[in-house]
Symmetry: C2
Subunit: 471 residues, 2 copies
Amino acid sequence: EEVARLLQLKAQLGDGAQKFILKCPKGTRDFDPKQMSVREGVFKTIIDSFKRHGAETIDTPVFELKETLTGKYGEDSKLIYDLADQGGELLSLRYDLTVPFARYLAMKKISNIKRYHIAKVYRRDNPAMTRGRFREFYQCDFDIAGAYDPMIPDVEVLKIVSEILSNLQIGDFEIKVNHRRFLDGMMACCGVPEDKFRAICSSIDKLDKTFWADVRAEMVDEKGLDPAAADKIEKYVKLRGRTELVEELQKDENLLKNTDAVEALEEMKVLFKYCDIMNITDKVKFDLSLARGLDYYTGLIYEGILKGPEASTPGEAVSVGSVAGGGRYDGLVGMFDPKGKKVPCVGVSIGIERIFSIMEAKLQAENAVIRTTETQVLVASAQKDLLEERMKLCNELWTADIKAEMSYKKNPKILSQLQYAEDSGIPYVAIIGGDEIEKGVVKIKDTSTREEVEIPRAELVSEIRKRSESK
Amino acid sequence: EEVARLLQLKAQLGDGAQKFILKCPKGTRDFDPKQMSVREGVFKTIIDSFKRHGAETIDTPVFELKETLTGKYGEDSKLIYDLADQGGELLSLRYDLTVPFARYLAMKKISNIKRYHIAKVYRRDNPAMTRGRFREFYQCDFDIAGAYDPMIPDVEVLKIVSEILSNLQIGDFEIKVNHRRFLDGMMACCGVPEDKFRAICSSIDKLDKTFWADVRAEMVDEKGLDPAAADKIEKYVKLRGRTELVEELQKDENLLKNTDAVEALEEMKVLFKYCDIMNITDKVKFDLSLARGLDYYTGLIYEGILKGPEASTPGEAVSVGSVAGGGRYDGLVGMFDPKGKKVPCVGVSIGIERIFSIMEAKLQAENAVIRTTETQVLVASAQKDLLEERMKLCNELWTADIKAEMSYKKNPKILSQLQYAEDSGIPYVAIIGGDEIEKGVVKIKDTSTREEVEIPRAELVSEIRKRSESK
């Protein structure tokens, strides 16, 4: 008999163990209630800022026709997730929220909108989950579409980035800005042939991670740039500054010959004037080494960067990484319009995953208690056979829109009920027993102070409301 | 020259027109700002109720390992979206939120949780978009996991469904309940062979859409059921009622022989007692024809059904359709646990898409103005060259956490600014001109009454706050 039992047990074990690999797909993760609580807090700060600036929101499907994404991401197209061909349309998961937004504008013939969109996007990238790089991750995008006067919507986007990064309280930050047309003009003036603009740009973009010598080597040795041109570029890409730098560059005779450079500098000057008005000049820095990868940018580009704790050590501040990025893209919507009608756009994407990681670490370091529910009262009883009484009281509280819970056991122990309230941070326990019911009263116990008072049952709702407000 | 121009134009047109089919994938849709506003309202009502009952929330990836979904949905497995095999793991889009939840519980070894999860799920079904059936759609799930006493968590789920459907104010509703073990017992007592339980169950489930004669024909002709058994089933599945029906069935000598039926009826009796305490008995009805498709249910099952306007015509109320469904599933988590450890669960899924459709139609019928932003003030100017002054004022308002907008044009017309405020429902316009700036005042115009008052600029923030509160 025992052998049979053991055999049966083994069969069960083997059965289960072989059937499933219990895991999330590579590069993805579950969010547990604590993480969700942090995530919702971060979203709230971000959405509050978007709404403060009058943004609407939209949503688009998680997948698009494959051809909608084709030709928008250059080399990175290999990172797009395709759906299996099960008959019907060929589909791909969205890679960002910008291309679906442009498709939406063209499809609905919208030429003016200020919208945010918070949703997950998908990239078959090499995940580095500890550093906040996932295959499924959230983007929080804010964009202003419409033909307006130069730099007016653009500066509002910078203002929003500044508001969000300040309000999140995750440390000091700066917003690097540059201008696509300035970069083009600068490269032209340095003698970079036009067909090498993009390649050289992408080398320049590496300057925040590597030394000039390495970048130069890449330009000259790998990309075949004239060493003289590289040396001229060096002079420029090391420059950082604000209005005074713009004015200095406006006197640079080399640049003066190039229309793109001249016009871009004029825009940068206007931008800094507006930054002064918006009180964000101390956060914004013209950085000639900022290039940004995506092909579709046509004007101002920017990146919001957190300065790490290393920032306090002598020498150059070391950036812990980009948490926001964006720019102006005046041509993308036109790529979707049958007549090529352009809708100028400017926007930003907040890189939420890295912010989550920082927030989680911060909360852990502070040993903060993260509540995962909003329950105000636990209805408990100290005696047996009071299940129905607890139900009745819960129902009274729910009807009065008080958030309340009770144990689902018929006869839970009072200690385990109190322990539950403590563990989940429920501020009050409403305790009833035979005596209390007879007398028409309820005991309220404050979970943190452990103080207990008896009040008339009819006053329970108003008492909880009063206490909740004053907390 | 003109020919060349025309040719160029043609080339442009052809180019754009052939490149893209501007559409969403079949069975999916974009949500515009108005729809998002309705959607957010619906979500809020639902989440408020989940939180009132102390629920936490979690999130899981949009795709799972293909094998995680395998063998959970029976026939419907053909509706699962697979991702293309691009190397690496084989993945599928989630089909519902219940299987990922069970996978999550097993993986994290959680045996007690009360959680909600609102997210999109994917089914390659035949879309019927006007009736709210999509290939990408939201599910709002609430589940209680844990080994508790009978019907205590179950009745709270019914209470939540009742709260949500009441609070949404989308018309009268009822919650049909039945019990899987009662159904099994009933079928056994009617002489249905055990291997035909599921097939006969799925025929019974069609009774809300078709006549008994058709269902009987399917049972007998297609599924080979003994006509005598079908006739016995008829007697039962026409029954509806509450406690009195349970008591009547408890006297049925035919059923008394079957343990499943007897125990299930005992549970139903307890359920109705709890429903009385929770004040929802008038909404809950024992309906012996409710069967529900999914394989994994093991106990109580239920469906929340809106009664259409036809309900007022004589005769039987015609249901406009199910907007919530769920039940107890005590075996699903065990399917994922290597040792087969069971975690009893009970839950519900709110069918949000149909609710959206109803809400949208209702709002349209009421000609309701749906605001898509929360902007409190539009900062405007009646004169030229006041862009920077408008920026300054906006910045003051943002700093005080007032939601404010301004035109992005350098010199917008006053009429178009006022029109914008009216169109987007912005309640106040703050108007400045040279005079106002000199005098240190601002004119506030109420968009709805068109009344204008002049107040000191320093009082603008408090004035807006005061007015916004009293609205």
